[in-house]
């Protein structure tokens, strides 16, 4: 399930929903991204997140589908926030449940890494000094490519 939303999300509710996925589930891996005080520049006070409605959901659905073909995925959940976010607010949640530990970790990390380089979101960092659009990082591209096909 995929949600793109301005409002915050509740990791506890998401975890409970992931856990409710049958007696064969043995592993749940989750990732949450928070707004940090240092991004491309220092003293970041918040973010503005823009996305491409429609395409975003399609891209993420494709990533979940790919993860499900490569690993045992019982349930996968992706939430990504848009709009204006304050320091330490939650930005993104990826949760995967699986029969096996290795599959849960791999699918969760793959979805997160691939989302960062292929889902159409753009981040603007806000600070007292002004605002600027974040540049894509070579390290993120490398992490995305490392998953191969």
């Amino acid at each position: 399930m995929i949600s793109i939303q301005t409002e915050d999300f509740d990791c506890a509710a998401e975890y409970a929903a992931l856990r409710d996925s049958g007696a064969g589930t043995g592993a749940i891996a989750t990732f949450t991204g928070l707004v940090r005080d240092s991004g491309d520049k220092q003293d970041v006070s918040g973010l503005f997140l823009e996305h491409y409605p429609g395409m975003t959901e399609q891209v993420i659905a494709g990533l979940i589908e790919e993860a499900s073909q490569r690993w045992d995925v019982r349930k996968a959940r992706v939430i990504h926030r848009i709009g204006r976010l304050q320091l330490q607010e939650q930005i993104v949640f990826v949760g995967v449940c699986s029969a096996h530990r290795g599959d849960a970790f791999a699918a969760c990390e793959f979805i997160m890494d691939a989302l960062k380089t292929s889902a159409p979101f753009w981040k603007k960092e806000l600070s007292e000094a002004g605002e600027h659009w974040v540049e894509q990082k070579a390290s993120d591209v490398a992490r995305g490519e490392a998953w191969g096909k």
Binding site: T117, P120, W122
Partner: protein
């Protein structure tokens, strides 16, 4: 006529710097996304950056595409900077 036009959308830094969210353009025959980008860049001013040093990503009908991909009437073509979500 919608049938003879295509929609062009811009996001993030490009949207801001071009001051444009969306354009409706006549759909030329045998046109690629790269042709469209070149035509827009030739408008000059901030538009020139569409063929500048910074990479421009292309989506056709909400799927990532290469400059050589054909675009036709009715298509939604989007140009944007490399993505930075997550």
């Amino acid at each position: 006529m919608t049938d003879q036009t295509l929609t062009v959308r811009f996001f993030a830094r490009l949207r801001e710097e071009l001051g444009t969210e969306e354009l409706t353009l006549p759909a030329d025959k045998d046109q690629t996304a790269g042709d469209l980008l070149a035509a827009l860049a030739s408008r000059g001013g901030p538009w020139a950056q569409l063929q500048g040093n910074q990479p421009v990503m292309i989506a056709i009908n909400q799927a990532m595409a290469k400059p050589g991909a054909p675009v036709k009437a009715g298509d939604e073509v989007a140009f944007f900077p490399p993505v930075t979500g997550g």
